[in-house]
């Protein structure tokens, strides 16, 4: 079945949890025992409605504070598709969580409270979806019940968001707008009777039409090697299979390939998935490849087509989102993990801090704090083979690992 990953961001006030709970409820993905628990808990708190947020806020601290502080994964499905929601908080101090949730998603839901309209938080959510190049954005104008389901309110907000959208540097992004009351279930899975003026899709209808395979990657195939399989059994005495996941384009038998970094050339002999050989394998497949020639290939190497070489360099410029309490400072050392490569590196410059409201950047003073986004230069101890993030998401992104604590301290998008 098709799997679609959705990123949501928002605070408890704008009804995000209620929207998710409503999606689960309307697609019958909430089982009776979970529903019963929600009813009990809602009654205990004295609510006269079902508090669906109780279905999504997982940790004790979150229940106590009534906020979402991490990335939670929520699952629901329709007969057509399986959905995975990466649910994150919306406040600025959780920027790293939003970036994390967005990194694996194909769709973003941006929630707007109909009473408040486009606010600072909306700017940030949209900015992150732009930075992470999420192709599909659904702007959900929620709490329409509290503004008498007024069409003008929705149209005003839509116009304001479109103004915001002119700042976007990402032309291929599709933005759609839906007026919703998550509490009452208007336009979530079912068409709203109270908003007969709206003839567009419901949130679920929109989601059902989105193709999870579509990506922005240009059609250059990248095959980072995860491991080499040498069974050394009698039956497979000479078998040398290279395992990995295919990104960007397809690979087929007979393709002429170059191994990086050695620049050795060969041809694809077989593409295995388990014990079967396929002619061609599409992006996203985890396969095992054998080559015509006996070439030296190890983990960290990459197979590409001869006429589609990536950039090979020891110096890169990137936009990073900082995720560690310990500041990022120019001159400090980190491991860069890029695909299956882990390379010691030095931060040669922290050039600026980018504001997440599309207003540009300011000088960084050589450092980035937790949850800040900025542009940096990195010098690596050996070359990596990469594309820009715009050309190939997988081959244009990396994480920075703290040498001492081993923490994943930041994420980078190569310019």
């Amino acid at each position: 079945m098709d799997v679609l990953k959705i990123a949501t961001a928002g605070s408890v006030d704008d009804g995000k949890s209620t929207l998710i709970g409503r999606l689960l409820y309307d697609t019958k993905s909430l089982t009776d025992d979970k529903l019963e628990a929600i009813k009990k808990s809602s009654e205990k708190k004295g609510y006269d409605y079902l508090d669906f947020s109780l279905a999504t806020d997982g940790l004790v601290a979150e229940r106590e504070q009534g906020i979402t502080i991490d990335v939670a994964h929520i699952y629901f499905s329709t007969p057509r598709k399986s959905y995975i929601i990466a649910d994150t908080p919306g406040h600025i101090e959780y920027t790293r969580n939003m970036v994390t949730g967005a990194s694996t998603s194909q769709v973003a839901l941006i929630l707007i409270d109909a009473r408040k309209g486009v606010i600072e938080q909306t700017y940030r959510h949209f900015f992150i979806n732009n930075l992470l190049r999420i192709k599909e954005v659904i702007v959900v104008v929620n709490k329409m019940d509290l503004v008498d389901y007024a069409e003008e309110v929705f149209e005003d907000i839509k116009a304001n968001f479109e103004k915001l959208n002119t700042n976007s540097t990402y032309d291929e992004q599709n933005v759609s707008y839906v007026p919703v009351s998550a509490l009452n279930g208007d336009n979530v899975a079912n068409k709203s009777e109270a908003m007969s003026w709206y003839d567009g899709e419901t949130v679920l209808e929109r989601l059902e039409k989105i193709d999870s395979v579509t990506s922005n990657d240009i059609d250059f195939v990248r095959f980072p090697i995860q491991s080499v399989i040498r069974p050394k059994t009698e039956q497979f005495h000479d078998f040398r299979g290279f395992t990995g996941k295919i990104y960007g384009g397809s690979l087929k038998i007979g393709d002429e390939i170059t191994v990086l970094p050695s620049l050795t050339k060969s041809k694809i002999k077989e593409i295995y998935f388990y014990d079967k050989v396929f002619d061609r394998a599409s992006p996203g497949s985890s396969v095992t490849i054998t080559l015509e020639d006996e070439v030296n290939v190890t983990r960290g190497d990459m197979l590409v087509k001869n006429d589609q070489l990536p950039i090979v360099n020891k110096e890169i410029s990137a936009t990073v989102c900082w995720m560690d309490n310990k500041q990022l400072r120019a001159g400090s050392k980190y491991f860069v993990q890029h695909n299956t490569n882990r390379v010691l590196s030095k931060i040669s410059a922290v050039k600026n801090t980018i504001t997440t409201d599309f207003s540009g950047s300011r000088p960084s003073e050589g450092k980035l704090d937790l949850n800040e986004i900025g542009e940096i230069d990195i010098k690596l101890s050996k070359p990596i083979f990469y594309d820009s993030f715009v050309a190939n998401k997988a081959n244009g992104s990396f994480i920075l690992i703290d040498e001492q604590t081993n923490a994943t301290a930041g994420v980078g998008f190569i310019n």
Binding site: G58, T100, Q226, G241, I253, V277, V411
Partner: protein
């Protein structure tokens, strides 16, 4: 030589004219398995004999074929297993030709390290933690692969694919490493270990559908069968084994039941079902109105039961 698949009947893997477009969840799990073996020195697969760990074994076979699975399986045996599960485990291990390590909760009880719970709701589920942590130390495992899924329980919904545990096996849920794109950070210090969850993103239905399409053999107790049972708190308990506590006034009756999860017998309830084939089980799960862990009494102790257990090193 090219055995090209023109048509695969499995609903999750599409082949058109020899083109492989894989099931996203399966591909993700295989990718994770390969990262574990590349990034760690001593991985182990925690095998309970349940459907999720059986699914893991199949995915591991696929990830490393034509080589054997390059790590042992380990069973933390509560001593309260369904006999069918143990028989199944031993057969599977023999077929795969992989090493099986068994460590017993009973040993920890005998050594006085843990004290057996008593009473109506007594279970050895909590006691497994000590045995697991001891075994990790004994074998110096640095990665323990498990079949937990995020859809099982709300504290699990925040679990990472590579989940770092300290020397005491503790989970620090507020200080987890972010996981971005496909980039998994397995760098740890000596003494730490990582719990790895390759099927994090699968739902119960995904697992069952996979078992169906892959024709994976599973223990017979997952299918409808006649059993002597008794009712307590609206749940159906097996009366066929003495480890399940039964009060004298709890009446035994015969019913057609099956198990949806296969854990410690003392805390795993049966469900009434006529699903005696995998197809019927999948259909039943699809229409089910009760969540999988609804029949696990250990999660019902409090709203935060799972989170508390995990902080202490529970799987």
């Amino acid at each position: 030589m090219n055995n090209i698949l023109q048509e695969i009947e499995q609903p999750k893997t599409n082949a058109q004219e020899g083109v492989l477009t894989m099931n996203a969840l399966e591909s993700e799990a295989i990718y994770i398995f390969r990262e574990v073996v590349a990034q760690f020195e001593r991985p182990v697969l925690l095998f309970s004999g349940g459907k999720d760990s059986i699914t893991l074994v199949r995915l591991a076979q696929k990830a490393f074929w034509p080589a054997k699975i390059p790590f042992p399986l380990m069973h933390i045996d509560t001593g309260h297993n369904f006999p069918e599960t143990i028989a199944f485990r031993d057969k599977l291990v023999e077929e795969l030709g992989v090493e099986l390590i068994v460590r017993n909760v009973q040993d920890a009880i005998n050594q006085g390290k843990v004290i057996e719970e008593t009473g109506k709701y007594a279970s050895r589920n909590m006691l497994q933690t000590t045995t697991l942590l001891d075994a990790i130390e004994e074998f110096k495992f640095d990665a323990c692969i498990g079949g937990a899924r995020r859809d099982e329980e709300k504290a699990r919904a925040k679990e990472r694919v590579f989940s770092v545990r300290d020397d005491f096996g503790q989970w620090d849920e507020k200080n987890q490493r972010p996981e971005l794109f496909d980039l998994l950070n397995g760098k740890i210090d000596l003494g730490q270990n990582v719990r790895v969850f390759p099927i994090s993103n699968w739902t119960e239905l995904d697992v069952w559908s996979y078992i169906e399409s892959e024709e994976i053999e599973i223990p017979s107790i997952y299918f409808a069968h006649q059993r002597s049972v008794f009712l307590r708190d609206g749940l159906i308990w097996s009366a066929e084994d003495e480890v399940v506590f039964r009060a004298e006034d709890e009446v035994v009756e015969e019913r057609i039941v099956r198990f949806r999860t296969v854990g410690d017998m003392s805390c795993t309830a049966a469900v009434e079902s006529n699903a005696d084939t995998i197809q019927k089980v999948v259909a039943e799960i699809r229409d089910s109105k009760i969540s999988e862990r609804g029949a696990r009494i250990d999660d019902k102790r409090s709203e935060a039961a799972m989170e508390k257990r995990k902080q202490q090193g529970y799987f």
